[in-house]
């Protein structure tokens, strides 16, 4: 009788050990979650709060105006147009040699993959990244940035402005 009971009681003991070990494991896990509850919060409640982006941030593209000449820095070398993997930059110019004038500089921001190759190859730093990243809009046409948009370096219709809008 007792010999038959042996494996049974053995199984019961190992089950008890398992239950105790499990409870200890759960308590240890809950203790660390409890500790995390009293640590400072790491969540940023975007869009009400925002983080600063790093100086190298691959954000939207812009053509800053040179304060000395009050004109573009672009020398119309077409390097950015050629290096763009998505072929989203379109440049047109009139005139010849030194009298060349930029007539069109369009960037299709919807195609852009923010790789930064155009900024890298530009010899005069005419095209740069700006620390702005909220380009979402309801209309695809708004994502075609022409010369004016790139000078202003702001999207045509800023939607995500930091305050949640209620649509009527």
């Amino acid at each position: 009788m007792s010999a038959e009971m042996m494996p049974h009681s053995d199984g019961r003991r190992s089950r008890m050990v398992r239950i105790v070990a499990g409870l200890v494991g759960l308590v240890v896990g809950l203790k660390s979650t409890l500790r995390a509850m009293f640590e400072p919060k790491v969540t940023v409640s975007y869009p009400l709060q925002k983080l600063n982006v790093s100086p190298r941030w691959h954000g939207l593209l812009a053509l800053p105006i040179d304060p000395e000449t009050d004109n573009d820095k672009c020398i119309i070398c077409f390097q950015c147009e050629r290096v763009c993997p998505d072929r989203c930059i379109h440049i047109e110019a009139t005139g010849k040699a030194k009298d060349r004038l930029l007539t069109r500089f369009d960037i299709e921001m919807d195609k852009c993959c923010y790789c930064g190759l155009c900024v890298e190859v530009c010899p005069t730093e005419a095209i740069v990244f700006v620390p702005h990243y909220e380009a979402s809009t309801y209309n695809r046409a708004n994502l075609l940035y022409d010369l004016d948009d790139l000078h202003r370096a702001t999207p045509k219709e800023p939607i995500a402005t930091g305050i949640v809008k209620v649509r009527r």
């Binding site: 070990a21 494991g25 759960l26 240890v28 995390a36 790093s54 190298r56 390097q79 763009c84």
Partner: protein
């Protein structure tokens, strides 16, 4: 099951044949995320392709993709890489490994019903993302490696911040042990579940943590060293059980080893050039080359054929997640339907890497 099931990672459809609750057979049905990256690469120059491999392949470890691509180009063109750039690349690759494993740890926790691990893994990953952002400008898609070096030198104070992160991360890792390793529910769902025997793992071409959890002591970083891996000391964690729990332990240990590599690299980081002069429209000589690296998911290779033009003639990508996915059938056969998600979560696939 799938392709839009919340528990699958990406869009994967699995045709699961059941006998009651027991899994008789599993056939993964892939192709939902196919983007023909290999063909697209034939139409882009070598420089432009760096931006493409970032997002076209495994998007959770963009640096690893860039690495294998620039490595193939450098080997074919016999382009020298400055010492400093090679150290920087190694640091970045190991940071990428940690960040990729953290995502896996979090999603694996969610698959098994532990939500806290996911939030905590994201918290740690955010630190790595910030490090990436300040050095490369991108958080997920960096376009940082260049053929013959890296894009730019590390910003001021970056190495200190990286050091700080290493300390912080090693402090945090025991919390995961407390949360998951000792958790009876987690153990019951992973220990002994989804066993992949060693011979099957080899036959199926499994690599990375999946193969190492089955007892295969193979790591490309040791077997075919690239960058500075032959100069740093690190161990390859190997387990012989081959179950989900072993895969979990292998990845946890790999993160510790990554921190060890990063620390050694930061210590020895030499000064000097970070980029050798390479033309924007690079033309590689006629020929072919195969480069292999150890991505967070396993043995990642690129076979590159050049015909002398400014863009590749043919590129073939050997994706680790693809081979690991096909070991899935062997792992799942005979288990209950509830274990399917646990086993799928344990192999850490990224469908973008599977379909390419």
């Amino acid at each position: 099951m799938g392709p839009q099931h919340p528990s699958t990672h990406g869009v994967l459809r699995m045709v699961v044949t059941l006998d009651g609750e027991n899994v008789v057979d599993v056939q993964p049905d892939i192709g939902y995320l196919h983007s023909s990256v290999e063909k697209m690469m034939e139409n882009r120059t070598y420089l432009q392709n760096i931006a493409l491999v970032d997002r076209g392949m495994d998007y959770l470890s963009a640096m690893a993709n860039e690495e294998v691509w620039v490595l193939a180009c450098e080997r074919l063109g016999k382009i020298e890489v400055p010492e400093r750039a090679r150290y920087i690349r190694t640091i970045m690759l190991e940071l990428q490994r940690i960040s990729s494993h953290l995502i896996w740890l979090g999603t694996f926790g969610i698959d098994l019903g532990a939500f806290t691990a996911f939030l905590w893994a994201m918290r740690e990953r955010e630190r790595i993302m910030d490090l990436f952002e300040s050095a490369t400008g991108g958080r997920l898609h960096h376009v940082y490696f260049r053929i013959g070096g890296v894009f730019d030198d590390l910003p001021d104070g970056w190495t200190d911040r990286c050091e700080e992160f290493c300390d912080y991360f090693l402090d945090r890792l025991p919390e995961y042990d407390e949360l998951l390793t000792g958790n009876p529910i987690f153990l019951a769902r992973t220990q002994g579940v989804g066993v992949l025997p060693l011979d099957t793992a080899i036959a199926m071409g499994a690599s990375g943590p999946v193969a190492r959890a089955s007892g295969l002591a193979y790591d490309v970083r040791k077997a075919h060293p690239y960058e500075v891996y032959e100069r740093v000391e690190f161990d390859i964690p190997v387990r012989s059980e081959g179950d989900c729990y072993a895969r979990y332990l292998v990845r946890l240990e790999e993160m510790r080893q990554s921190v060890r590599i990063i620390r050694q690299c930061l210590e020895r980081l030499p000064a000097g050039e970070i980029r050798s002069k390479v033309a924007v429209t690079l033309r590689l000589p006629k020929g072919e080359v195969y480069a292999r690296t150890e991505s967070p998911r396993g043995d990642l290779g690129i076979y590159l054929v050049s015909d002398g033009a400014d863009r590749p003639y043919r590129v073939k990508i050997r994706a680790p997640a693809f081979s690991n996915l096909y070991a899935l059938t062997e792992m799942m056969r005979g288990w209950k339907v509830a274990d399917v998600i646990a086993i799928l979560g344990s192999i850490d696939i990224v469908l973008s890497d599977v379909d390419r």
